[in-house]
Amino acid sequence: MQTQQDHAFEFGGEGWEYFRIWIVNLLLTIMTLGIYSAWAKVRRLQYFYRNTKLAGASFEYHGTPIAILKGRLIAFALFVFYTVAGKLNPLLGILIAFLIAAVMPWLIVRSLRFKLYNSSYRGLRFGFAGSDGAAYAVFLLLPILTVLTLFLLAPFTHFKIKQYQHNNSRFGDTFFRFDATAGNFYGIYLRAFGWLLLAGILFSVAVAGMPLLGLLLPLIYLYAAAYFAVRLPNLVWSSTGLGEHDLYSRMQISGYLKILLTNLLGIVFTLGLFIPFAQVRMARYKLSCMGLLAQGDLGAFVAGQVQADSATGEETAEMFDVDISL
């Protein structure tokens, strides 16, 4: 019987320290008309990965700026092509939108592979082994069905996407496992929806003659959004394990809201100069709530087969705003 050990994630980043890196890289990005942004992105990820510590070792990001730059150029070309075609001929625009929808699952798989392969911990790389066929089911078929069922299927689709991502991810040659159920997702969606419903009722009451109640509306909306942004990652991470070890996330809605609100105020009142501080604060909060329940030693993982992939998928997915945060 091995003893269970609770390893908390730690984030060592500091606002001022990251500000210096961020502002210098922003300046260089502007001076090079955006080309340097690929290098800036690598630095940003490296800063956040290396500052993330678990059981005495830190994470590392290995993506190369050139691969990211190539991906960005292709994504940019696709975007311009789509915009121009849509302006010239609406029919051509629709055709291209269909084409993009058809290649998107393929691109998402490439982007997941690139992202995970370029992440490492204790000298071992992460990896992604999801098949293209399954990706088309969860990233194309299910979303279409979701729309057709008037979003009744949305929690199920979300569940399937997370299941596909986490079950196919590995560290070294050890796969992650994901044991949440669709029912868990429906529970969170329904409660968030309940808050929105309450907001709707309050709204009609406010319109009917109690305007003061209207002031509560934005607060309830914000609370519903925070509820979703906290409970969902909590569920996803607490249902994820690696081999015999288990992960957990225990964010609190009040703690999350406090950071979110102060960050927004800071960014607005400094015209954006607070952004690096805000990013550091949020990362620190999220990671401080996460941990790994280890069964024995973390030194027993073994490297898996090596595979490389280009950054194009990730960049295209980012450009077209399909953010699939892991």
Binding site: G13, R20, N25, L264, L271, G299, A300
Partner: protein, 338 residues
């Protein structure tokens, strides 16, 4: 000596090791194995804040070092130099200088580059596209805001004839026509569509009574069209919105639209002045007094609801900068002084 954690790249096991330098060779001593490599073959990660540094070793493994001072000493001894970027990223002076430069670049791009680009692009949009844009915006306005004009046909025709007889300034490119409409909710006003059609509201015709004053308003609106003001506004605000979204990134697209709106207002101030200049030149060419435009403005000001006027008076200078139109009294005095 530098304390480090060694990972061999094949398993996740960590080993405590000590790194030293021996004549250009990096020597690693640990419990399990001791190895050495020429320092030149070791890839040392750049410093990034206080994050642990990595030494990628030729055997596929790597060392993680958190003792920055000791590692820096070892690297200096081995002939490593910090590059310029490394220095910039860690110096407070460079951070502050960068912040100033970033703000300066944004301000300069906004003040000079953006209007210039918008003007260049706006002047090159083909007339066919302008016609399409004008027609579709008139359609939208008709559906949402405007009602058919109740002005007698004879009066409409008289104004059309008077306007058509006006001599145009050189370089006029579009076919200018008056479109009569009514909009009690908007009140006395006139606005130019990108294709040269000028929407004249019954309320404005009723307010001035004087046909020459109406011609002055038409000349002013023509100035807006000739200089492609509406198009430039659209181009500029969408560019600002795009840049803001990029800069703010994941924050919120809602936040991004607020500054864009504030900035837009100050643009149209400049544009009003340009349109005034155009109107003055056109009125002079036709033997009319620039004062006419000033007197319409005074009438418009007087017709504004009392509450708005009071607000403008209380706001004083602050309002002057926020308002989309330059302060009316100032503007009409300037027009008459010419």
């Amino acid at each position: 000596m530098v304390a480090a954690h060694y990972f061999d790249g094949r398993t996740s096991a960590a080993q405590q090791v000590a790194l030293t330098l021996d004549g250009g060779r990096l020597v690693m001593r640990g419990e399990i194995a001791s190895r050495e490599w020429p320092l030149r073959q070791v890839k040392v990660s750049e410093r990034l804040g206080d994050t642990p540094r990595r030494l990628e070793l030729p055997d596929g493994g790597h060392c993680e070092v958190t003792d920055h001072a000791a590692l820096d000493a070892l690297l200096t001894q081995g002939g490593y130099r910090r590059n310029w970027l490394d220095r910039m990223q860690h110096s407070l002076r460079w951070a502050l200088l960068s912040a100033v430069l970033v703000v300066a670049v944004f301000a300069a791009a906004y003040r000079y580059l953006l209007p210039w680009c918008a003007e260049v692009i706006a002047q090159r949009i083909p007339p066919a596209l302008l016609q399409q844009m004008g027609a579709s915006s008139l359609q939208t306005l008709d559906r949402l805001l405007l009602q058919p004009s109740r002005l007698p046909a004879g009066r409409q025709q008289a104004l059309r004839t008077a306007y058509a007889k006006m001599a145009a300034l050189p370089g006029a490119q579009l076919d200018y026509r008056i479109v009569f409409r009514s909009a009690p909710k908007i009140g006395p006003n006139a606005f130019a569509l990108p294709d040269g059609n000028i929407v004249m509201l019954d309320e404005l015709v009723a307010l001035t009574q004087d046909d020459d004053e109406i011609l002055a308003v038409l000349a002013h609106e023509r100035g807006h069209v000739e200089q492609r003001h509406a198009l430039r506004m659209v181009l500029q605000s969408s560019a600002v919105g795009l840049a803001m979204t990029w800069y703010m990134g994941d924050v919120s697209s809602l936040l991004a639209t607020v500054p864009a709106m504030v900035m837009q207002a100050s643009y149209s101030r400049d544009m009003e002045r340009e349109a005034d200049d155009y109107a003055v030149r056109m009125l002079r060419l036709n033997g009319l007094s620039p004062c006419l435009l000033g007197s319409v403005l005074d009438k418009l000001e007087a017709a504004r609801p009392q509450a708005q006027q009071r607000e403008a008076a209380n706001g004083g200078r602050v309002m002057d900068y926020l308002a989309s139109h330059p302060a009316t009294a100032e503007r009409s005095a300037a027009l008459c002084a010419r």
